[in-house]
């Protein structure tokens, strides 16, 4: 019942915050959000699962209750954690708490609603990562969109309506494609499944239980469903060329929403890819390995090139997220322990690092009210500690050793280089690795122009040291980044434990 408790605390907290007075909403939400954060850390410590949740693994904190019957299929409330989902749940709770802290300065309008929505999004994100029934999962998956739409649409920048609608419609259409594909899969499985429980479906798929549907044979249907679901998730990740909603959403979103968007929402896409496409369709992964790897490499290089051309700090970080997500896809398609494990690690790591970067950019924005690289220089002079953390975060993004980003990237590269499944893997790896040069290029270029040099600011604001609570929350993130960089085994062991059945069995 621990997962229910987590979700319930966040949901009830959201309601309480919603009706609380604006004045205390921020502090109240922070206190409430500490509960799930502490709970999830306790879950992390008490984790006793093993294996993969979908492939006969020992689930931790499992609970199941019948919900609905639809025809021959039953839908249940079914939640549980394994080594893949637990780190993401912890990431979610921690980032939500820090996002709340980072909203104290910039949010000064309808606070109770704002913080209520953040807690609401937290509840749904936990649900996405822990649900093991397709329908339950889908409810959470879609429910995440609503608060994020409102956060961008109400508290966003000048073009917030455009960005919010684009974000919502784009990802929602993608969800529709994915949903349709999955339902086709369930019908294609025929009698071999009797519920929408993901473990049952995954096991049936691995056992080759897929019959034809609509005149398509089993393998053809599998390919269609695989591609449909891949496209559906590709928008969420996002993978080039489905990425254009991301920079718009990031630029218009308020800082905390950006933190959650880049930190957790993008991971929903890669998490779902891993859970669905890469767990249920090993044969299709092999068949489409080269095109997927090519898209991954294009995402890395193209995303990085786009970041190089930007002058808005948030756009830079947004495009670099596209680039980083490309690494994750590459690691997944390698289909080795280190490749997929590194990709999962990179999800967590990128969540922390991009969260830190958006916070740092937010702190600068709060002080200067501009994010344009051309509008400022020498910020290190005025806010040395915040800029110091920004620089550390930037180097984390570049993959500096002993920070978590390096571990994620290195394991992905190592896992991909020797991949059996992917032909030409050394070539793909080497090409994707060039991303680490470009990322250094645009981040250092941006740093040089904004934080170094003589102090200059085009807007009429007096810049002083950053508030302590902002520094503290960034410090926590930086600490976690370094901790995971030095001792990656903390989560990597449980990740690989959950990865092995995917790679090893079934093929």
């Amino acid at each position: 019942m621990m997962i229910e408790a987590l979700i319930a605390v966040a949901l009830i907290g959201a309601l309480v915050t919603f009706v609380a007075p604006n004045r205390i909403a921020g502090k109240l939400a922070f206190v409430i959000s500490l509960v799930p954060a502490a709970l999830s850390l306790w879950l992390f410590a008490a984790f006793d699962g093993s294996g993969n949740a979908l492939l006969d693994g020992e689930l931790a904190f499992e609970s199941q209750a019948a919900w609905l019957e639809i025809g021959d299929h039953s839908i249940s409330w079914f939640v549980g954690l394994d080594g893949i989902s637990l780190p993401l749940v912890v990431l979610t709770t921690i980032l939500c708490t820090l996002a709340i802290v980072s909203s104290w300065t910039p949010i000064d309008d309808r606070e109770s609603q704002f913080y209520g929505l953040i807690l609401f999004i937290e509840a749904n994100l936990i649900g996405v990562f822990s649900a093991l029934d397709f329908f339950l999962w889908f409810v959470f998956w879609e429910a995440v969109l609503i608060p994020m739409y409102l956060l961008i649409g109400i508290w966003g920048g000048p073009r917030r309506k455009y960005a919010a609608i684009k974000f919502f419609v784009y990802t929602n259409v993608a969800s529709l494609v994915m949903f349709g594909s999955f339902i086709a899969l369930v019908f294609g499985l025929g009698d071999s499944v009797t519920s929408f429980a993901l473990p049952e479906i995954a096991t049936a798929m691995r056992n080759g239980g897929l019959d034809g549907l609509f005149g398509l044979g089993g393998p053809a249907l599998a390919s269609v469903v695989f591609i449909g679901m891949f496209l559906g998730f590709a928008v969420k990740v996002p993978i080039v060329p489905f990425h254009t909603w991301l920079p718009d959403a990031h630029v218009e979103a308020p800082t905390p929403a950006s933190v959650l968007l880049a930190g957790v929402l993008l991971k929903m896409g890669t998490y779902a890819l891993l859970r669905f496409n890469f767990t249920m369709f090993p044969e299709q992964v092999e068949a489409y390995a080269i095109p997927i790897a090519a898209i991954a490499v294009i995402s890395v290089i193209y995303g990085a090139m786009l970041a190089l051309a930007q002058t808005d700090l948030k756009r830079i970080v947004a495009y670099s997220s596209v680039s980083s997500m490309g690494y994750v896809i590459l690691g997944l398609v390698a289909y080795t322990t280190f490749g997929v494990g590194g990709a999962t690690f990179q999800m967590v790591s990128h969540g922390l690092i991009s969260g830190l970067m958006f916070m740092a950019v937010g702190v600068i924005y709060n002080a200067t009210h501009t994010r344009m690289v051309t509008d400022m220089s020498g910020m290190a002079d005025r806010m040395p500690i915040a800029v110091g953390i920004l620089i550390a975060g930037a180097f984390g993004y570049m993959g500096l050793p002993l920070m978590s980003g390096f571990y994620g990237e290195f394991t992905i590269f190592f896992g991909t280089f020797g991949s059996e499944l992917l032909d030409y893997s050394p070539l793909f790896t080497s090409l994707a690795m060039f991303g680490i040069v470009i990322v250094a290029g645009y981040l250092l270029f941006a740093l040089q122009r904004t934080v170094f040099g003589p102090y200059r600011l085009e807007t009429d604001y007096e810049v002083s040291r950053a508030p302590v609570h902002d520094i503290a929350s960034m410090g926590v993130l930086l600490g976690l980044i370094i901790l995971l960089g030095v001792a990656p085994a903390l989560i990597f062991d449980m990740i690989t434990d959950a990865i092995e059945p995917i790679i090893g069995g079934g093929l």
């Binding site: 684009k166 254009t244 930007q310 394991t411 680490i436 470009i438 085994a489």
Partner: protein, 682 residues
């Protein structure tokens, strides 16, 4: 863990931990510490030096140390050579090479810390807490890099070294130029590290191990693979070793500022002079060459890779030396001399002269640290003027600085009996010996030899312009005084620069048949060594033939005589041109070449063009493509839906009759379709 068991070696991690602790203490409490945070760094580096010396003594006593401290990660992976599972660890390898290097690095770091008291504190710089903290982190990274027992750990600390130089080069971040130089340094070396990382990944994926030493090392695995004739990633084993070796070499070329990645180094002079001393002598730049020495067994397997190292080294030695000739800034001259000297080390290692390369690395660490600190002293004397044409006549006003600087200059120029002569001569002799059989190496040797002349020339041009003649500015007339913190490191290094060469008097040994080539014995495992990582083992692996002119002794004398003669000739030319009371520039004599040299062969231009003229427009084009085409499709979808529904809604005329007609029409249509499907019209 296992480390505690083996006597003095149990303290080995402390070598790196001391500076790390100093970094943390300085960063957190620096504001409250005396001397603005210098003390923790000094104490820590002194501690590191002591422990390093203990290690050195232990190795001299016939011991070695190889242990794994911490498992970073491990997992299931099958390598190309069918090794199951892989572990990435942090470990310590203390053998003659690393023990020697640890002493050098901690000594130079200590002296730089002390010198900083005179250079930074006394000059009233701000931000010293940051400075000393970064210096501590820098020392930590380099020391950990030096004792790394595997390639991945080496790579990680190699990168951290890069980060620290970025931070320290950009120390004066309020200027425009320092951040730019820092960025360039990081980017250029990062470009090299890109290849290095591919190399690390490739080696790990190929052999299933990244260890430097022992049975489990990738070097042993590569040897086995070559013997067995295994095919690796579609190549035969030796080709694959060459490819991966060259990939790793990319990182070396970047860090050690070899052609074509040398452009960052002269710009890096934007950092404080103390930092330059540390970067050039013992840390960042030395890291590259040290890495080649560390995994020399791997390169030894591939004659192609070695020849490329030698050729690049020889070429860089000459190339950089010619550019140093026309520089006016004292630090710029030293910067180009660094590039050139590391070229020699690469040349030495590339021809299989492991001892020669390491020997020169050691000597260079001392005399280049000396010269940079000396230049720092000159800059203090000159009230922060760096243009040599504003100096002159400092000889009598600052005798300590002058004589120590002169010792460094003699060593750099390679004048007997100063340290640089012995090592450079050994490098050139080894190159000549191999070159007599290998034309490519002979070309590399010729370039290295020619560079000796230029080295002699620019070194003494610098000495004469700075210290001799008449003062050419007010600052030179009335120099600022320097304190003990400046003089002590200079004297210590000056002594070392003069005498360090005596540890390996190869020509003398040859003539007298005496066993006085101590460094060679040291690296050959006469005292203590890890099996397989000795000069002998390497020498057997290297596939180069060696030739002689007459006998070996005559060849050696010939080589020594040639290089000494050229060095003296260079020095003498400088003497005639510049050792006059009122020297002139003599640049017109160079004609068109002057412009080319002054512009550094347009190397910066093309690299800046690559970044700003090619990549940036490409990025902008990609951005335009993204905004118009890709986002255009997305927005186009919504525009089409909006446009389409705008058209479609016009059916809704508001006239009831039309609706009724549509209803009827639709009904009839439906009827017809159903009828057709039902087979009414068949």
């Amino acid at each position: 863990m296992a480390a505690t068991a083996t006597g003095p070696f149990g303290f080995a991690p402390a070598i790196a931990v001391f500076p790390l602790v100093a970094f943390v203490i300085t960063l957190v409490f620096g504001r409250h510490l005396p001397k603005k945070g210098a003390l923790p760094g000094i104490l820590a580096t002194a501690g590191s030096l002591v422990v390093s010396l203990v290690m050195f003594a232990a190795v001299a006593g016939g011991d070695e140390h190889h242990t794994t401290l911490y498992e970073w990660t491990s997992g299931a992976a099958t390598s190309e050579t069918m090794v199951e599972g892989i572990e990435f660890t942090f470990g310590i390898l203390i053998d003659p090479l690393s023990a020697l290097m640890l002493v050098i690095v901690s000594l130079v770091a200590l002296l730089v810390h002390v010198f900083s008291l005179g250079y930074m504190n006394a000059e009233g710089e701000t931000g010293l807490r940051r400075y000393y903290a970064e210096l501590g982190l820098f020392t930590f990274s380099m020391l950990a890099f030096v004792f790394a027992d595997n390639l991945l750990m080496a790579f990680m600390f190699f990168e951290l070294v890069g980060l620290c130089s970025y931070l320290l080069i950009g120390f004066w971040f309020r200027t425009e130029s320092a951040p730019s130089a820092a960025k360039k340094a990081f980017l250029v070396t990062r470009f090299g590290d890109y290849f290095f990382l591919i190399g690390v990944v490739a080696i790990a994926a190929t052999f299933g191990t990244v260890g430097f030493a022992g049975e489990e090392s990738f070097i042993t695995a590569a040897e086995t693979a070559i013997e067995d004739g295994t095919t690796l990633f579609g190549f035969d084993a030796e080709t694959w070793v060459t490819i991966t070796g060259l990939l790793v070499l990319g990182g070396v070329l970047g860090k050690s500022a070899q052609f074509p990645f040398h452009t960052w180094l002269p710009d890096a002079m934007e950092g404080p002079t103390t930092v330059s001393a540390l970067i050039h002598a013992a840390t960042m730049v030395a890291a590259g060459v040290y890495l080649v020495a560390r995994m020399f067994g791997y390169y030894a397997l591939s004659p192609t890779a070695l020849a490329i190292i030698a050729f690049v080294g020889g070429f860089t030695a000459l190339f950089a030396a010619t550019m140093a000739v026309v520089k006016d800034d004292i630090k710029q001259v030293l910067a180009y001399s660094t590039i050139s000297q590391y070229g020699y080390m690469m040349l030495g290692l590339g021809v299989g002269g492991y001892v020669a390369g390491v020997f020169h690395l050691m000597n260079h660490a001392f005399f280049k640290a000396l010269l940079f600190l000396g230049a720092g002293a000159v800059i203090i004397l000159m009230h922060h003027e760096q243009d040599m044409w504003e100096m002159g006549g400092l000889k009598d006003k600052a005798p300590v600085t002058y004589y120590t600087f002169l010792a460094g200059a003699l060593a750099l120029a390679g004048i007997v009996p100063f340290s640089g002569f012995w090592s450079k001569d050994e490098v050139l002799f080894d190159a000549l010996a191999v070159g007599l059989e290998q034309p490519v190496i002979l070309a590399a040797y010729a370039m290295g030899l020619l560079a000796v002349f230029f080295t002699g020339f620019y070194t003494f041009r610098m000495v004469f312009l700075t210290f001799h003649g008449e003062p050419r500015s007010e600052a030179a007339e009335d120099p600022h005084s320097v304190g003990w913190a400046v003089k002590v490191p200079l004297l210590a290094l000056g002594t070392l620069a003069a005498v360090a060469g005596f540890v390996n008097l190869a020509p003398v040994a040859e003539l007298l048949h005496a066993d006085i080539t101590f460094l060679e014995f040291w690296l050959d495992g006469e005292y203590g060594a890890v099996e397989g990582l000795t000069y002998h083992a390497y020498h057997e692996t290297v596939a180069f033939e060696e030739g002689v002119i007459g006998s070996e002794t005559t060849t050696m004398l010939l080589s020594a005589g040639l290089s000494l003669g050229l060095a003296l000739a260079g020095a003498f030319t400088a003497h005639t041109l510049y050792n006059v009371p009122d020297p002139s520039r003599h640049t017109t004599k160079l004609g068109g070449a002057y412009r080319v040299l002054k512009s550094n062969y347009y190397q910066d231009e093309y690299q800046v063009w690559l970044a700003e003229g090619l990549t940036l427009p490409l990025a902008r084009a990609a951005d335009r493509f993204d905004q118009t085409v890709i986002d255009g499709v997305v927005n186009g979808t919504s525009t089409i839906s909006l446009f389409g529904s705008d058209r479609l809604k016009r059916i809704q005329t508001g006239i009831v009759t039309n609706y009724a007609a549509l209803l009827v029409g639709g009904f009839i249509g439906l009827l017809l379709v159903l009828g057709y499907l039902g087979g009414w019209f068949a």
